[in-house]
Every structure is written in structure tokens, then in C-alpha cells.
């Protein structure tokens, strides 16, 4: 049987998608740890906004585009050891944008004007879905450095995961849009500027004097970087389509996240991207699925009415903890209540597990391989937790 470790070995780049709150970042980190412990690959995990404890688990203390190599020290208490190497970085969108501007600006003056423009910050935060673009851009950068065999990028939580895929294309479209040409025309062709004049007048009435002109000035500046930006976006887009790149979709087996995963999976398929792996997170552990637990709920139900059992158990438990000062009758009652609660939760667990397996079928439709990760008793806070999660990823 194929294992997740074998699956991720084949790919050079894995883009991890999914809706918010499903554990995407944790799963990405676990995939990275798995690859670096099961193979000799040089692995990088790029993450956007990890929980503090998860970041600490990866040895990251602050945001920055610096790739931090995880030392084997972190694996001290783990049975599994590093075979390859593992690095991680938290993507800093603002710094990445500044970096892009510095790289593509034709001269220092333009660079400084852009970086200091008051519209710039707003633009990088909102325009052209910049977080999405930056995630892919950073993937490209890390890939072309040649320093890694496998890069796993955890995508930002988007309103719609497709914005990540479309980000490079949108960047190109942005520069070639007629609107941008029209807006920035005044300094290029006076003739077009004349044509744009009524627009300025109306916009001034609507927005307030000069706003449109300010915006136009900024974009004129921005357009000087067109060639660099567009070329780069093209390369980034090509990388997304490369056979080396595959997508992994993380979801929980609940209606809303699953619907989004399904939508994304089908959209990826339509665009001929390969979705190699879907991972259902927080699945009721295997041993608690199925008949054995259902049978036990029945056993518990019978046991509560079995006076002999209850009384012998009462004797035993009162003997183990004589200090409780509780009389036999009250304790029997308490015991029966506790057994009832346990029975209820056995049944509830079966109920959830049935709901989950009913939803599981829907996932088969959009990914080549499908794995589950178990529901855990606590949040993952160290390498051992990530190792365990990776090793517990079971292909269905």
C-alpha cells in the first residue's frame, strides 16, 4: 500500500489548501516533518500564520522571510530522527512586497517613492489579493534557490482558495488592463489624457478632489516596474502548472469545510492541476469507528442494570479509595450515572463517526489519494506531536 510518505516524496512542491480552521498549518508542518524524517530530502515548510505554539514547535520565534533550519536538537526526545534536513519560514507579506518593489524598481528614486507612498501600504494589503500572490512568489523564490528538494507551502486562508491559483494571472492582467493604461496615460500620451479628462471630473465629484489624480500618479510610478513584475508573475504561474507541483487539500469532515474542499478540488481538476492528496483532519480514531464500540454501548447499558456487577464494582472501587467517605448506596448510584455517561459518549462517538464516514465518500471524487488524520486529545505543541501526526496519516 502507498503511504503518505511515499506520495509526498514524488513531488518537488506541494501547495496546501483548505478553508480556515481545519488545521492546514499543522498538517503542512507534519508533512514537512514526515518527509524530513522518512527521506533524505532537504525540506522547507513555508507557512503564513502559524499558532504561536506550532511556530515554537518548529523552532520559529518571529516572522521574517528568513528560512530557519531545524536542528536535530529539537528531535532529542523523539524516537524518529531527522534523515534529511528540515527548514521553516513564516511568510511576511509586507517585507516580501518591499522586496519585490526593490527588485523591480528601475532606480532608487522610484523605489523610494513607491515605498513611501501612502497608497502603497493599502495597495499591498488589499490589491490583487497580495497575500495569495506573495505565498506563491515565495514558493517560486525558494524553489529557484535550488536549496530544497521538497517545498511545502501553507496557503493563506482565503475567501476562496482559488484566489491563490489565480494570483499570478491576476498580477499580469492588472498591468495589461486598459483601465490602468487609461489612468496612467496622462504622463504618457497627452491625447489619451484628454480622453480621460471627463473621468477625472466625474471622479472628483464623486470621491473628492484630486483623489483619482493621486491614485493615477501612484500607478504611473508602479507601471515602471511592469516588465519585471509581469515576467516574474509568468514564471511563478508556470511553476504552478509544472508537473513537479501538486496540491494537497486539507479539510475536516464537516459540511462547510468539506463543501469548500470539494469546490476547490473540482476547480483544480478543471484547470488540470494535480490534486495528489486530500487529507481529512480530526477524524474519529480508527479503533473507535465501527461495530466494536457500538457493541460496548450495549454492554454498558446492560451493566448498569446488572446489580451484581454494580455492587461488586462498588466494593472494589470503595476499597481502592476509602477516603472518599461516601456510603455504598450513593456510590452505586454515582457509578451507574458514570456508566451511563460513558455509554452516551460511546454512542455519540459512533454517531459522529457515522456522520464522518458518510461525508468521506464525497472526497474520493476530487483527489487521487485520500488520507485521514485522527482527532487528537490536544493541540500540537512540539516536534513529537508533528512526528506522530505525520506517522498517523493513513491512506484510505
Amino acid at each position: 500500500m502507498t503511504t503518505v510518505a511515499e506520495l509526498i516524496q514524488r513531488d518537488g512542491l506541494i501547495v496546501v489548501c483548505g478553508s480556515g480552521g481545519v488545521g492546514k498549518t499543522t498538517v503542512s508542518a507534519a508533512l514537512g516533518v514526515l518527509a524530513a524524517t522518512q527521506t533524505e530530502k532537504r525540506v522547507l515548510v513555508l507557512t503564513v500564520d502559524p499558532a504561536k505554539r506550532l511556530a515554537n514547535a518548529l523552532g520559529l520565534s518571529e516572522f521574517g522571510n528568513v528560512e530557519v533550519q531545524i536542528t536535530s536538537d529539537l528531535f532529542k526526545t523523539s524516537k524518529t530522527k531527522l534523515r534529511g534536513s528540515l527548514s521553516a519560514a513564516m511568510i511576511d507579506t509586507k517585507a516580501s512586497w518591499d522586496d519585490l518593489i526593490s527588485r523591480h524598481a528601475p532606480d532608487e528614486a522610484t523605489r523610494n517613492s513607491v515605498l513611501q507612498n501612502s497608497l502603497y501600504k493599502n495597495l499591498t494589503e488589499r490589491f490583487i489579493h497580495s497575500h495569495d500572490y506573495i505565498a506563491i512568489e515565495r514558493l517560486y523564490q525558494a524553489h529557484s534557490s535550488g536549496a530544497y528538494d521538497l517545498i511545502i507551502v501553507d496557503t493563506p486562508p482565503s475567501r476562496n482558495a482559488l484566489t491563490v491559483l489565480d494570483a499570478p494571472k491576476r498580477m499580469q492582467d492588472f498591468f495589461s488592463s486598459r483601465l490602468l493604461k487609461l489612468l496612467t496615460a496622462n504622463t504618457q500620451w497627452q491625447l489619451l489624457a484628454l480622453a480621460a479628462k471627463p473621468f477625472y471630473e466625474i471622479a472628483d465629484r464623486l470621491l473628492g478632489k484630486g483623489l483619482l489624480r493621486d491614485v493615477a500618479e501612484f500607478f504611473t510610478l508602479f507601471r515602471t516596474m511592469e516588465t519585471g513584475f509581469v515576467e516574474r508573475a509568468k514564471k511563478v504561474e508556470a511553476l504552478l502548472h509544472d508537473t513537479k507541483t501538486s496540491f494537497a487539500i486539507v479539510t475536516t469532515l464537516e459540511d462547510a469545510p468539506l463543501s469548500e474542499a470539494e469546490f476547490l478540488g473540482l476547480a483544480l481538476k478543471e484547470r488540470k492541476f494535480s490534486t495528489n492528496l486530500a487529507i481529512a483532519n480530526r477524524v474519529i480514531p480508527k479503533e473507535l469507528q465501527g461495530q466494536a464500540l457500538i457493541k460496548q454501548a450495549q454492554v454498558l447499558n446492560d451493566a448498569r442494570q446488572n446489580t451484581e456487577l454494580v455492587s461488586e464494582l462498588t466494593d472494589l472501587l470503595l476499597k481502592t479509595d476509602p477516603g472518599s467517605g461516601i456510603d455504598e448506596e450513593s456510590f452505586s448510584k454515582l457509578l451507574t450515572q458514570t456508566l451511563e455517561t460513558i455509554q452516551n459518549y460511546a454512542q455519540a462517538t459512533t454517531h459522529i463517526s457515522e456522520k464522518q464516514s458518510a461525508l468521506l465518500d464525497r472526497v474520493a471524487g476530487f483527489a487521487d489519494h485520500f488520507a485521514t488524520a485522527p482527532m487528537l486529545e490536544s493541540d500540537i505543541a512540539d516536534i513529537n506531536g508533528l512526528v506522530a501526526l505525520g506517522e498517523n496519516l493513513n491512506i484510505v
Binding site: G20, G21, L119, N122, L207, A303, T338, Q343, S378
Partner: protein, 313 residues
């Protein structure tokens, strides 16, 4: 919180914002209020939750006293132009909407003002007692409610600027407007909720009306049951049970143990939320909504709204 006229329901993606917004809407109707629910991101989640057909910019009454709409910047622009500039023909100029969109994307506050303006306008018109907004997620809400002020600083003159003054008056009045922060009992969601409350305090003058923790697992054992559960997990008890009943209950103990661990984890995160809020001196309503995943199916909105009715009455 339902005594206010404008509520923004926000939180990290995936915490159940839309479900809570819809449930609050139903709870307000149950209190005899005329309610307008507004969806901000046109994802269609609200119409699905309310089990109704697709929503549009024009509010539609979907059940007695409950109307719903979906926000759309283009429509908001058109309405703004025709109402406030009294020049309906301007909006009809081809290409204007797209150039406006372009500028609005770049200039801070323009898009948000249109959107927030529409919501404030509904409050001012008074056709509804309360407008409940299924708002954008945490990252955008501060920009949204602060938009009128941001825009005033950015564009010191112009008609849009003048319009922002009455919007601010509604938004910054805690009697009228409030933000409701929804979170689940997960580490990241709690962190984001705290960051948001702090950002609302420091970057805006908009009041935080309530914190709602969604999907809180219920308590599993009483204190004395807890002790018995621990005892039952001991080898001697387990083997006596197996001997007497003919079957082990190990899996049941494990299943209950897992549910108990999840509950303890949730309690831990709720505690850090509370202490974080205390540090911020944030005095708001604090509500816990139960997790229904351990219960058989049924309308989530119906369950949550009756829960909210009980909590808020």
C-alpha cells in the same frame, strides 16, 4: 446586544460567523424586532442557512419580520450616487463603475465607506429595528468600521467626505452600533479574537458588543463522576468489569476520554480568552454556545437561536 441597531458579526474564518449571525437574527425576531440580515461576502452561506433562495442587494422579507440582503459594492455605489449626489445619470455612464472599482480598491476606505454607508443608511431610514451584518472576517472588519474616519483623513474635501460624518455618528455610538466577535475554543481563533478586540479599542471608536464562543463542547462529568471515571480506567476495575459483563469497555472509556480531553482543551482556551479580555479591560457580553456535533442532526440555526434567546432573555 440586540437592543442596538447595528451589529457586525465577525471572527476568524471557519468559526461559524454566518450561523451565529443568522441565529442572532432569528433570536431578535423572537423578541419582536424587525430584523435585516446582511451578508457581506456574497458567498451564499446565509441563504443556505436560512433555507431560502439566493439573496440580492434589495432586502427581501424571508419570514415575518426577517429580511435579508447581500452586499454589493457596485449596487451600493449606484444607490449612493442616486441618493446623495442627486445625479442618477452619472451612474449610468459606461465604464464609470469599473474605474470607480479600480480607484476604490487602491484608495483606503472608499469601498468600505460605500458598504458601511449602505448599512448606516438602513439604520437611519428606520425600516428595521436592528441590522445584523454577517461581516468580513477578522482581518478586514477594523478597516470596515473605521472607514469613514480613514477616508476623512485621506480625502479632506468632497461630497463623500461630508457623507462620512453622519455615518461616524451612528458607528461610534455604543447605544447604536456594536461589533460581535465570534470565536471557537481553538488556539488560533482565540488569539485572533483577542487581537481584534485590541485593534477595535486602539484603532477605532466602535464598541465591542459581545464575545461569542461558538461550538463549546459540553461538560462531560460532574466532579464526583470524574473520580469514578478515573477509577474505572484502572486495571483492577477493568478486569472485574470484563469478568462480570463478558466484555471489555476499553473503547468506550477511550471514546469518553477523547471527548473529555477535547472539552478540557476547550476550557483551557476559553480561560485564556477570558484572561486576555480582562487584560484588555474589555467589558462585554460573553456568551458560550454549545457544540451540537455530538447531537443528532437538525437545524443548527434553530438550535442556536433558541440557545441565544434563552441566554439573552
Amino acid at each position: 446586544m440586540l437592543d442596538r441597531q447595528l451589529l457586525f458579526i465577525t471572527g476568524k474564518g471557519g468559526v461559524g460567523k454566518s450561523t451565529v449571525a443568522a441565529s442572532l437574527g432569528r433570536a431578535a425576531v423572537a423578541q419582536g424586532k424587525r430584523v435585516l440580515l446582511c451578508e457581506m461576502d456574497a458567498k451564499g452561506a446565509l441563504s443556505t442557512l436560512l433555507q431560502t433562495s439566493e439573496l440580492s442587494f434589495t432586502p427581501r422579507e424571508i419570514s415575518p419580520n426577517l429580511s435579508a440582503m447581500t452586499m454589493n459594492t457596485q449596487d451600493a455605489l449606484r444607490e449612493y450616487v442616486s441618493i446623495f449626489l442627486k445625479t442618477p445619470f452619472v451612474a449610468a455612464i459606461p465604464g464609470l463603475a469599473s474605474i470607480f472599482d479600480f480607484v476604490a480598491d487602491a484608495a483606503p476606505g472608499v469601498k468600505e465607506v460605500l458598504v458601511v454607508g449602505k448599512l448606516c443608511y438602513e439604520v437611519r431610514k428606520g425600516n428595521y429595528d436592528i441590522v445584523i451584518v454577517d461581516a468580513e472576517s477578522t482581518g478586514h472588519i477594523v478597516a470596515q468600521v473605521a472607514a469613514p474616519t480613514t477616508l476623512r483623513n485621506f480625502v479632506p474635501l468632497g461630497p463623500l467626505n461630508e457623507q462620512t460624518l453622519w455615518m461616524t455618528a451612528i458607528l461610534e455610538d455604543p447605544q447604536k452600533t456594536g461589533v460581535v466577535v465570534v470565536t471557537t475554543c481553538q488556539e488560533m481563533a482565540v488569539n485572533e479574537a483577542l487581537e481584534l478586540v485590541e485593534a477595535l479599542q486602539t484603532k477605532t471608536k466602535v464598541d465591542t458588543a459581545a464575545i461569542i464562543v461558538n461550538r463549546v463542547p459540553s461538560e462531560i462529568f460532574t466532579k464526583s463522576q470524574e473520580i469514578v471515571f478515573t477509577q474505572l480506567n484502572q486495571v483492577a476495575a477493568k478486569s472485574l468489569f470484563t469478568k462480570k459483563s463478558g466484555s471489555s469497555i476499553d473503547l468506550s472509556l477511550q471514546a469518553t476520554g477523547l471527548a473529555r480531553a477535547r472539552r478540557n482543551l476547550a476550557t483551557h482556551h476559553i480561560a485564556s480568552l477570558r484572561s486576555g479580555l480582562a487584560e484588555l479591560d474589555s467589558i462585554n457580553e460573553f456568551l458560550l454556545l454549545p457544540d451540537f456535533s455530538y447531537q443528532p442532526t437538525g437545524s443548527l440555526v434553530a438550535k442556536l437561536s433558541s440557545e441565544l434567546e434563552a441566554e439573552l432573555s
